[in-house]
Each structure stands twice: as structure tokens, then as C-alpha cells.
């Protein structure tokens, strides 16, 4: 059993950043933005938070590039998929007006 030296940054600082971002996102949602912009904003904040968790808590910053690639490729694919589906599911002119929440 070899104990290879692993760097340990100040995790508590990361945690404080996470808490701050949480507070920011709690405020951001009450700002008068359009729905699309709000979703975009909270997704960006969530992305920053998850990047923090991944880089420090999951040690991505200290891993070899292969592992970084394994972590990033699915994220790219997910974003690609989401963007590709937007025109069809959300902004499709032929989608009719069935969308409403309370049908029951």
C-alpha cells in the first residue's frame, strides 16, 4: 500500500464558495428576467457549483487528462443533445397547445 502524495486544497473555502453561490442563486431567481434567461442563469450557477465540486472534491484538477476527458465528454454530449432538442420540443411551430399543467 503506497500512500502517494495527493494535494489537499482548503476544502472549507470551497464549501464557503458553494454556500455563497447557493445564496446567489436563491436571489437570482426573484430578479425580473424572462423564463428562458432565468433557466439559463440558474443552470450557469449550478454549472459553476458542480465544477467546483468536481475540480476540488472529486480531485479532477489533480487527475491525468484521460480522466478529465472521461468527465467532460458526457457533459458536452448532454449539452449538445439538449440544444439539438430545443427547436423541436420547445420552439417547434407545429406543436399545438396541449401544454398546460393542471389537466386533471
Amino acid at each position: 500500500m503506497t500512500n502517494t502524495e495527493r494535494p489537499h486544497p482548503n476544502y472549507v473555502a470551497v464549501w464557503i464558495w458553494l454556500m455563497l453561490l447557493l445564496a446567489v442563486s436563491l436571489v437570482a431567481v426573484y430578479l425580473p428576467f424572462s423564463q428562458g434567461l432565468t433557466v439559463f442563469l440558474i443552470l450557469v450557477i449550478a454549472l459553476v457549483k458542480s465544477v467546483l465540486v468536481a475540480t476540488y472534491f472529486m480531485h479532477l484538477r489533480f487527475e491525468r487528462r484521460l480522466i478529465l476527458a472521461i468527465a467532460i465528454i458526457p457533459v458536452i454530449l448532454f449539452i449538445g443533445m439538449l440544444l439539438t432538442l430545443l427547436p423541436d420540443i420547445v420552439y417547434n411551430p407545429v406543436v399545438s397547445v396541449f401544454y398546460s399543467a393542471d389537466t386533471h
Binding site: 465528454i73 443533445m81 439539438t84 423541436d88 420540443i89 407545429v94
Partner: protein, 579 residues
Amino acid sequence: MTDHNVSEDEFQEELKLSFWYRYIFSVDHKTIAKQYLFLGLTMAVVGGFLAYLMRSQLAWPGKPVFGWPVNEGYIDSPHYNALVTMHGTIMVFFVAMPILIGAFGNFLIPLMIGAPDMAFPRLNMMSFWTMFLATLVMIASFFVPGGAASAGWTGYVPLSADPIYTGVNWGLNFWILGLALEFVSVLMGGVNFLTTAITMRAPGMTLFRLPLMIWMQLSAAILFMLSVGPTIAAAVLLLLDRIVGTGFYDPGQGGDPLLWQHLFWFFGHPEVYVILLPAFGILLEILPVFSRKPIFAYHIIIYSTIIAGFLSFFVWAHHMFVSGMDPRLSLPFSITTILISVPFAIIIFAMIITLWRGSLHFSTAMLFTLGTLTTFILGGVTGIFNGSPAVDIYIHDTYFVVAHFHYTLFPSSIFATFAGIYFWFPKMFGRMMDETLGKIHFWMSFIFFNLTFLPMFALGMGGHMRRIADLSRYDFLKPLQPTHQFITVAAIVMGIGQIPFIVNFFRSLFAGELAEYNPWRANTLEWVTISPPPHGNFETIPTVYHGPYDYSLPEIEEDWLPQNQPIEESLLSTLKGKV
């Protein structure tokens, strides 16, 4: 070459394990590969039988079908739909996947990279038994009240979302469950494959000394792992719709049926390459051995595969040109679709040029390889018709599509499988297969495969819809009835043509001629150990000195050079840049 005498002790050691641990709950990747192989071949018989039932109904609608157990042999439309669905599901997920990924991947990855076993042997065993369980669930779905799933292998919602539409309740739930288990199994396998190939390569086995089969298996595993997620999500939502009664796909409640198609095909198209790439891998291994030539443009084949793999995530909507999705999506997706044909065209050209100025030996494995190549080309070029949105308007959901994907999937999952079995059988079981029976098997399969599926292009041009249980309702289809009968007869003969294989397989298993280490004089590492390799594979882990395809080097006497054989110092300068 060093002589690999593995002493008696080793076999004694093997024999000490009880039957259960040796053959059933083995953690040896080779045993697991054989388990996958037998599972896949058994399911191929099941899937083939379903095809026979379907074909008989199509050729002689309204006549009882020999072998159909219920309703005095009459196949009614709901049952026909179930046959179609289960044939597709079984052939793709329970024949092609277990054999090409499970059997060949498991068997070859550790052997070809020079590793003693998989990175996670127990995970490997679990992967097989999950697959086995999935198979049982799938088989069981035939026998639950209401019968098996009948919403097509694509399970389009809302048809599959509510039992009132198909009358199938538990059959479809089992279908989803079986698929989910199968996905979990292949995911476990994929983790294992990737980790093994990344971390356990023998000394000297750099990435660009890997045999192409490994590259193909890895690409397939990556494609599968990254594409299957959304479909698992979609399937869970579907299951909740069916069991809990939520409305994720119910348009009345704000659901969108097209979303299922998007998420399904996001996986569904890469899945095609998950099957195709390992099949290409088999061809790319066999071609150089029987041409005694290096594979042409090894690096370009690898780059093409990577490009095609990446593109395959962004072609899915070409299955949906007429589905009612936003037509603005059609142009980008038709462009990516034609783009993806280029890397595959390049791989095919490379395979063809590999034959040029070779010294071709037509063993059964080579015949099946060439058979795959010739038929796959037809499947590939007919894909251009489907990829053109305009033509697709007419031929979508017709027999043209059926013919097209059988011309791609049948060669890649059946012919290439046979090629692989004939080629690696000596290594798997330590005995040679019979060449005469093999050649009979090849010509029966090849000729009658073409006679079965070539006429289907004509059916499709005639506007014949897929998944129609009885064409006699339509006047414009009635003249096509004799074609259907011709196809059915050809298909049955093709089925009979598999008997030589079954005979050959089992006879060789027990009474075939004993195989040497390297009966084909091939270069890759699996041939440097004894046949069949013992648990642990290699006496000593071989060291790799050069690439896998150094055949017919003009500077040396032999026309082959195993990967673990060092090159003499004197040759190094002349071979610089070559090996």
C-alpha cells in the same frame, strides 16, 4: 520464438475447481466469453424461429403456420406484431450484443492486449449473469397473460405507454425490464473493457500497437456507455407511465410522444455502430491474416473510427425525417448523416485495398469476411437513399428500410460472427473446425441471404409498408404476394443452411482436429499462448515490440512476425518507420 510448454500442473489445478466454479460461476474471461457465445447463439435460434413464423404468415396469410403453437397455427395481427417486435429486440440486443461485445470482446481484449484477465473479473461474471437474467425476463414475456411486447422494437409511445393500445400489459413491462437489465449488463461490461484496455496492456503495447479489434471494441464500448443514458431515462419514465400512471408521454397531460423517439434514437443510432464496429474489428483481424498483408492504412482506420463514433451522436434524427419533428432539423441531420458515410467508406476502401497484391487464402473465415464485406457494401450504399430526406419521405417505413438494415446488420452481426467463430474457434476450444462443412455453410448462407433480402428492396419501391401482418387488404400490394413467397422460401433454405454450422460446431467441439498454438500463423498476442489458453492466459506476460499486422516483411524469411518477437538489430534500420 520461445516455446510455451505449460506443464501438466496447470491443468490439474484447473481440474481441482468444481464444475460450478469452472463452467458456471467462472471469473475467467474466456469462460465468460463462451457463456456469452452460447447464450447469443441460442437466442439466435429463437430469433430465427420468430423470423420464420413471420415470414410464413407474410407469404401465405390466413394459412396456419407449422410450428406456431396457439390458435391452431393461425397467426393473428396482434401476435404478428409481437413477433416483429421480439424478433427485432432479440436479434439486436440478445444476439448481436452478447456475441459481438460479450463473447468476442471478453475473449479477445485480455488476450490481444496481453493481460491475464479483465480488470474486474467478478464484475465481468456479474455482467454475464445480468445478461442471462435479462434473457430470461425477455423469454418469460412470451408467456405472461397478454403475450409479448408488440409495440415494435423501437417501442414508440404512446403505443407502448398504455396497455389499452396494444392489449399487452405485462409483456411490455417485462420487455422494458429485460432491456434495462441488458443495458446494465453491457454497461458493466463496458466499464470493464475500457478499464482493462486502458490500464492492463502488456509492456510495449502502446495504443498504436493495439490490434484494430481492440480499437473497435473500445469505440463501441464508449459509444454505448455515453449514448445509453438518455434511453434508460426515457425507459424509466415509460415504465412509470405504465405502472404508476403518470403522463410523461401523454399528450393530453403535456407530454410529447416525439421526445421518446429523440431519446430512443439518440441511443438507437450509436447502437448500430456498437454492433457494427466490433464486426468491422473481426473483419480487420481476419483480412490481413488470410491476405498475408498488413491492413492498409492502420492509423487512418483508427481516426476514421473515432470521427465516425463522434458523429454518430449527432445523426439520430435521420430516423425521424417523416416523424413530424421540426423539418428545420432535417437539413443538419441529413448533412451529418452523409458525413458519417465518409469515414465508413474510407474503412471499406482500406479493407478492399488490403486484398490488393495479397496472397489470399479462402478459408471459411475469409469467405465469411468477404461475404460480409460484399453484402455490407450494399447495405451501406442503400443507406444513402434513406439519408436523403426527400427520398426518405417515400421509402421510410417500407420494406426498403427493412432490406437496408438487414443488409447492414445481418452481415455485421451474423456473417462477421461466423467469420469470427471459424477464425477463433481453435483458440477458444482448442480444436479446428471442419472446412468443408464450413464452406457449405458459407455458400448456403450467402446465396440465400441475398435471395431473401434483395427482393425486399423491390417490395419497398412498390410502397410496401413494414410491419403489415397481411398485405391482402391493399389492392396495390396484392401483386407483391408471390415475391413474399419467394422470400420466405429463400429464408427457410437459409435457415436450413445453418444446420451444417451446428453440426460442425458440436462435432469440432468434441472431435475436431487438435489445434496448435497458431494455426493461421497470425501475429496478434492471443496466438502466442496455447489453445485454449489456461486461466491467466500467458505463462509470462509477453512484451510487445511492434504493431499487429507485420505480414510479409520483405526483409525476413517468414511471412509473419508475432507481436512479441523482437526484431533483430540489423533489421531495425531498414525497417525504420515501418514497424
